[in-house]
Symmetry: C2
Subunit: 341 residues, 2 copies
DNA sequence: TTAGTTAACTATACCGGTTTAGTTGACGAC
DNA sequence: GTCGTCAACTAAACCGGTATAGTTAACTAA
């Protein structure tokens, strides 16, 4: 019933010790007698004392929160289930640690950098996740300058003082191309992601390399911004040609699904006339028709690993890179041998 | 260059006044001479002083952050673009207010309630958004008990002390049914959302009412959990019947898209053999084939309005309900007159 | 003239923890 | 017996703001 907030002073008084000693006992540091410590903790529990996060924040200069800043085209963000799953994974770790996640969704890169600055200035977070890595990513020097611990989702292209938690997506693309090649395809096109994003170009390079490895001619590639609309446009462009590809490897699922729509619209049958592969294995893949052959990432697992790594970094001052199992090809109904070769 | 953090004491000293006066000047409260106030603010700016959020938090007992707790089946969360857009809207308001958003994604309702408790116990947030309202929602009494300001997304069914920011989705469903009826459909089914969620049953009731209003026999209704998979199953069940509906009204877009997949798979042509309508107008709708007739919500606008209302509530102690423009029917290619009536 | 008000401002307690600089007493070494 | 050391513990400063009680000086009213 008594809702009066109990403070460390109350605990100290009833235990007959000083505030400082209670603090020591709580954070189990040396300098407290064994039985005294037990007694203090017992009393704290009896009184229902939980140390005030705010007070602790002020004296320790930490916030006990982690940050995630997302700078994405709203369209892309909305159709991409990566973040909800990733965040769910992050939360599953944070919840147990009594830490919170501060989320910012910003419209552009300038605002993004500004947001990191103010998160630090306000001491909102003790560390951040860096997603959607870009070439020569400006966030890395910025965070280094700000002294904010971070974890990168994937390995950045330049120097980085931060641990990276990586899911190698190259094998997935390679497997997609090999799968198509084995089915007998040779005119395989690639609807790539944004050239500004590391995973956009990496998938594109993996595609080119896999085509070469399969002994196939260089495949046509169209750049996009990863959005559903761009995927649709790119597909239309590819299929409007006199000689069109018999298979298309998409850099993500939403674009692949849009591609499926375009094919339907043009009367091109999938997989008979056109094979399609996606990337990410979003929930939709299993339920569109035909079900989409794609590459499974595991955003929630990624989130957990990233959170653990970031916490470790903040605690120990350093953390090892983590390499998660590479994304795997999942073969469903959208790929088949080509009709005419 | 000098990164030494400047505090209120520094400002006070250089201005030759007391800390208290600086505080008064900053929060423009009475008791400061006009020219003194200007001078203090000028000096503060010159020194580059920004009051410490942490210190301010401790003395004002506020966190200057808002909270959003999402308790959803991970599958549903991942395929539903509502939250990313909603959050983007919220952020667009918060950014200017130097407030942050604390996000929690939890697996179930118990954890959800627990999360609210700990957000309050830790003083992480000054107010929260309540989404996905349920019947007799346990969160409302809980938040009342905790004394945490909140805004509900939609009007709850019971008593609520909180302002509601509402987008009426009934007209959208009504318009969908009317549109289908006008096209000549009479066997219209409904793939409903979760019966636990208010908007699930509301859309279902709107469907039933609209059917009656159109003078049509009661339509078949299948309950789901709003997930893509459930939408697929429900559609299969509806279409596996001897006498099947000529049109299906879905409670959300992901299920409608899954339904489209099932229809394709069964060789049922949309819209010739089956008309389909969705709800939300997610980005995919325009790009699947045929493009989906759906009802446009505006999650980002909703987010902005909700944030503004919550801020107003926290500032003035009360805020008016807000009724946003009702969702509108957007007619695309997935609806057409029925083949055989 | 003098008490009463009031605006402007100061000093200081306070929010609730952490941390540092002592203080005390027991024990071992010589 | 005395000094040194160490573990256990206390007192008080500190984090950086806000809020309250008090102080001045000017101004008003009787």
């Amino acid at each position: 019933m008594s809702t009066e907030k109990v403070t460390i002073a109350d605990v100290a008084k009833t235990a007959g010790v000083s505030k400082g000693l209670v603090s020591f006992a709580l954070n189990n540091r040396p300098g407290v007698g064994a039985e005294t410590r037990v007694r203090i903790l017992q009393i704290a529990q009896d009184l229902g004392w939980k140390p005030s996060l705010r007070a602790r924040s002020l004296s320790t200069q930490r916030s006990y929160a982690l940050g995630l800043v997302i700078a994405r085209n709203p369209d892309v963000l909305a159709s991409d289930p990566f973040f909800p799953s990733f965040i769910a994974g992050v939360e599953s770790i944070l919840a147990a640690e009594r830490r919170a996640l501060v989320l910012s969704v910003v419209p552009d890169e300038d605002t993004e950098l500004q947001t990191y600055r103010s998160l630090v200035a306000d001491g909102r977070v003790d560390g951040v996740f860096l997603s959607d890595l870009r070439h020569n990513d400006a966030r890395i020097p910025l965070l280094t300058e700000l002294g904010l611990p971070a974890v990168t989702l994937g390995r950045p292209d330049g120097d980085s003082p931060f641990p990276a938690v990586t899911v190698d997506d190259t094998p997935g693309i390679t497997a997609s191309v090999r799968h198509l090649a084995e089915l007998g395809h040779s005119r395989i096109a690639h609807v790539a992601g944004s050239p500004d994003l590391l995973h956009g170009t990496r998938r594109r390079e993996a595609f080119a390399a896999a085509m070469a490895a399969a002994g196939l001619p260089e495949g046509q590639t169209v750049e996009t911004d990863f959005s559903v609309g761009a995927g649709s446009d790119a597909t239309r462009r590819l299929l409007d040609q006199a000689i069109r590809p018999t298979a298309i490897v998409y850099a993500n699922d939403p674009m692949a699904i849009a591609g499926l729509g375009v094919a339907h619209e043009l009367g091109i049958r999938v997989p008979d006339d056109l094979s399609i592969t996606g990337f990410d294995d979003i929930d939709f893949c299993r339920y569109v028709f035909p079900p989409l052959t794609t590459v499974s990432a595991a955003p929630a697992v990624w989130g957990r690993a990233a959170a653990q790594t970031l916490l470790r970094l903040m605690e120990h001052g350093s953390a090892e890179d983590v390499d998660l199992p590479a994304a795997r090809l999942i073969i469903r109904g959208s790929t088949a041998p080509p009709r005419q070769v």
